[in-house]
């Protein structure tokens, strides 16, 4: 067990490493999340950075040594993540690998799969993407139409996927496809693949986001031949494995692989921004309405932070034991949506400027952040679907 003193020393070590290794401003716009990797230039930069973090030993700290990790307690990774967030270093961008595919393979994969995939995830050599959502089916994974038909030692895959983050750069995809269209329950006909992307019959089409950036693709499968041994588990287990995978999402952020550092803006950043701005001829921070609004957000942020801790004391969660965990996404993504929208209002007339304008506040950081935030209130189950989940699975309210 790591002692408090060990961890404290480790924190100082990481902070020191960051100080000496934090990359200089590359002169081009870095992504706020892994969903805005829109050019080779950005890709190369981030690949190099993640490799550096991993080489220094600050990524995959809780993964076994033989797969590129360090076999330490997750506390270390948490601390490394926290310090990197605080220092605002670039993101470790291979998020689907680090947060979903990696934990899944570690947890449920075969030794062969672990050997083959894990180190490349950490080193950023192998970029991973995710193929669950399909055009026209949004949140409803049960309706997946992409077919995978067994053809000798391959599956022939046909169909298309959408919202494939870094689909155009990824080497592997975690793919959910239908192997049995006759299955009695539609969820039973799905299978899960660790599929190579660089095979004939797979093509990608970048999707331009509302911010004007790229980062997603639509991915098309036309008789794409995926080796049969890329299936994970067995035919028909896809749904169960996919659900399992979605569970890692929170874990990933909490440090399972570490250093993922998705866009993190805290109230302190907003207060810093607000300090320079005038309203009605006075400093903004003297405005009573602004003060009241900021405090409302601070209370809400505090409650969000506390919820993370309260989960760890079950006696304090006795009423609805799964409430805080199931409502976590809804609470935090909607908080950030409102907070980031409000950040634009605080900017006054300058809020009309955008990324690329030299006078834009923080280079348009907040404008991007607000708009990109919709990926979190839409993706992975919209806020409306999340509210249903909480209502039904926490409170026991009837389904629609």
């Amino acid at each position: 067990m790591a002692t408090d003193k060990d961890l404290q020393e480790f924190r100082a070590e990481v902070a020191d490493w960051i100080k000496h290794n934090q990359p200089a401003d590359p002169g081009f716009l870095l992504p706020q999340t892994f969903m805005e990797v829109g050019s080779e230039q950005v890709l190369d930069f981030l690949r190099e950075w993640q490799h550096k973090v991993w080489s220094a030993g600050y990524l995959g700290m809780a993964w076994p040594e033989k797969y590129g990790g360090r076999g330490l307690s997750p506390s270390y990774q948490n601390i490394a993540d926290e310090e990197m967030k605080l220092a605002r270093v670039p993101i470790c961008f291979n998020v689907i690998g680090l947060g979903w595919a990696g934990p899944l393979i570690l947890d449920k994969g075969t030794d062969y799969e672990r050997e083959k995939y894990l180190k490349g995830i950490l080193s950023a050599e192998d970029i991973w993407c995710q193929g669950f959502s399909e055009p026209n089916h949004g949140s409803d994974l049960g309706s997946i139409q992409t077919r995978a038909e067994r053809d000798g030692d391959h599956y022939l895959v046909n169909g298309s996927k959408i919202w494939t983050t870094m689909g155009n750069y990824a080497k592997y995809m975690i793919l959910l496809a239908r192997t049995d269209s006759q299955a009695e329950r539609k969820y039973n006909g799905l299978s899960f693949f660790l599929a190579p992307m660089h095979v004939d019959g797979i093509s990608t089409q970048p999707i331009k986001k509302l911010t004007g950036e790229y980062g997603f693709t639509e991915t098309f499968f036309t008789d794409a031949r995926i080796p049969a041994d890329c299936i994970m588990g067995e035919e028909g287990q896809g749904w169960r494995i996919a659900m399992q995978t979605l569970q890692y999402e929170r874990g990933a952020e909490a440090g399972a692989a570490g250093g993922i550092s998705i866009l993190s803006i805290v109230m302190n950043d907003l207060l810093k921004m607000a300090a320079e701005i005038e309203r009605e001829g006075q400093p903004l921070l003297k405005d009573p309405l602004t003060r009241d609004n900021l405090v409302k957000f601070l209370i809400e942020e505090k409650a969000l932070h506390l919820a993370e801790k309260r989960i760890q004391t079950p006696a304090l969660c006795a009423d609805y034991p799964n409430s805080l965990s199931l409502s976590g996404k809804l609470r935090s993504t909607e908080f950030y949506r409102r907070m980031r929208q409000y950040a634009l209002n605080l900017q006054g007339a300058q809020s009309a400027l955008y990324v690329g304008d030299k006078d834009a506040v923080d280079g348009g950081f907040w404008q991007r952040a607000y708009m990109n935030n919709f990926s979190t209130t839409i993706g992975g189950g919209t806020s409306q679907v999340q509210a249903n989940i909480v209502g039904e699975h926490v409170l026991g309210l009837p389904k629609d």
Binding site: K296, L298, L306, R310, T313, A387, G391, V394, P398
Partner: protein, 377 residues
């Protein structure tokens, strides 16, 4: 706000867990909704027998040091207890007495403590008399203590003094020699017509206007550490009302969920309509936030004069809990439809509690105003 300080978010000891469990079952047993409703018609709003059992269980001594007959578990430990009381609308002079004894602990002389704290642990009832007008944000008082020989004479009235009719002693704020002090007044020294009972929107509670004019005290009745004590009991008052409100919010949620999962309209259980389902989820989320904040405040509060972290925590708790309960109570009426409009529906009890509590020890806006000073400047 960073991870560096987040370690002290919650402390929850086995002892506290035991108190919580016992509080839950006690309050559920003693305060079913029929009992609550029957006590509305009573003079004092509570059952003397239940109060005696609470004293017996040691609850009135939880926050009192061992040397004065208490169990010295700290004021934070009363939070879970009071939350349970709120959940079952179990109104007793517990909050009033706890605050009055906190005033003595934090502001009183050894003599005050030696005299009063053991009595409180054994069931004596105290209450605070702080409010001069509608404004909990006022920092002055219109009550005065003036010299008369070696005595001091009180002049003025206090509003909304909780459980005044059963109180054995009062902690009264008044001006003395240019400063605001807290002075201890025994119930026995009030004139016979000093109390006038108020008609409260929350019919499960009791409060009086208390006229202290002409009451004689001595300089020894002034709490020597009045300034700190006054500041701290207002913050603790805010926290305890927040805890009680959060409990009532949970009861409101239960009642709403129970109706939404049993009532059928247009051929469907009404809880299946998102227009009811989603706001009910909002109630849960608001309640969860309030609960995180009250337990956090319970963790960082101490017997020392409250530090800035404790002040922030108490204020945040009250700001959140107040608004959460009002939202819940309002929606509870609405979602019960025609039933919600009747006196027989429990939703009105919750809404009235919300309305009665929102300003006690300062409303949300009041606390946010002070938080702004602490967090933004």
């Amino acid at each position: 706000m960073t991870s560096r300080t987040a370690n002290m978010a919650f402390a929850f000891t086995d002892e506290q867990a035991m108190i919580l469990d016992s509080a839950k079952s006690f309050c559920a047993d003693k305060s079913d909704i029929g009992t609550v409703r029957s006590l509305i018609a009573s003079d004092n709003g509570y059952n003397q027998q239940v109060w005696s059992e609470m004293v017996e269980l040691g609850w009135t001594g939880i926050a009192i040091p061992e040397q004065y007959g208490g169990s010295e578990l700290g004021i934070g430990s009363t939070v879970a207890l009071i939350e349970s009381m709120g959940r079952h609308l179990l109104s007793t002079p517990y909050i009033a007495t706890t605050l009055a004894s906190q005033a003595i602990m934090r502001g009183g002389s050894d003599q005050h403590k030696t005299h009063w704290l053991p009595q409180v642990a054994e069931g004596s009832i105290g209450t605070l008399a702080l409010l001069d007008n509608e404004d909990w944000g006022a920092i002055t008082t219109s009550c005065n203590l003036s010299e008369s020989g070696d005595k001091l004479i009180l002049e003025g009235s206090k509003l909304l003094v909780s459980d005044a009719a059963v109180a054995d002693f009062f902690i009264v704020s008044a001006n003395h020699n240019g400063a605001q002090v807290l002075v201890l007044v025994a119930a026995s020294s009030l004139s016979p017509d000093a109390l006038s009972r108020k008609v409260l929107i929350d019919e499960t509670k009791r409060a009086c206007t208390v006229n202290f004019s002409g009451v004689e005290v001595t300089p020894n009745d002034i709490l020597p550490q009045s300034e700190t004590a006054l500041r701290d009991i207002k913050l603790i008052g805010a926290l305890l009302i927040a805890a009680e409100s959060t409990g009532t919010c949970a009861a409101t949620l239960d009642t709403v969920v129970s109706y939404l999962t049993s009532r059928i309209q247009f051929g469907r259980l009404i809880g299946s309509y998102q227009a009811l389902k989603h706001p009910t989820v909002d109630i849960l989320i608001q309640m969860d936030s309030a609960r995180s904040l009250i337990y956090h405040a319970a963790t960082v509060i101490s017997v020392q004069p409250l530090d800035q972290d404790a002040e922030i925590a108490c204020r945040m708790a009250k700001a959140q809990a107040t608004e959460a309960l009002l939202f819940a109570g309002d929606r509870a009426i609405q979602f019960h439809g025609g039933m919600g409009f009747t006196y027989d529906c429990d939703a009105q009890l919750f809404l009235r509690r919300a309305l009665g509590s929102q300003h006690q020890y300062g409303d949300a806006q009041h606390h946010r105003l002070h938080l702004a000073g602490l967090l933004l400047d």
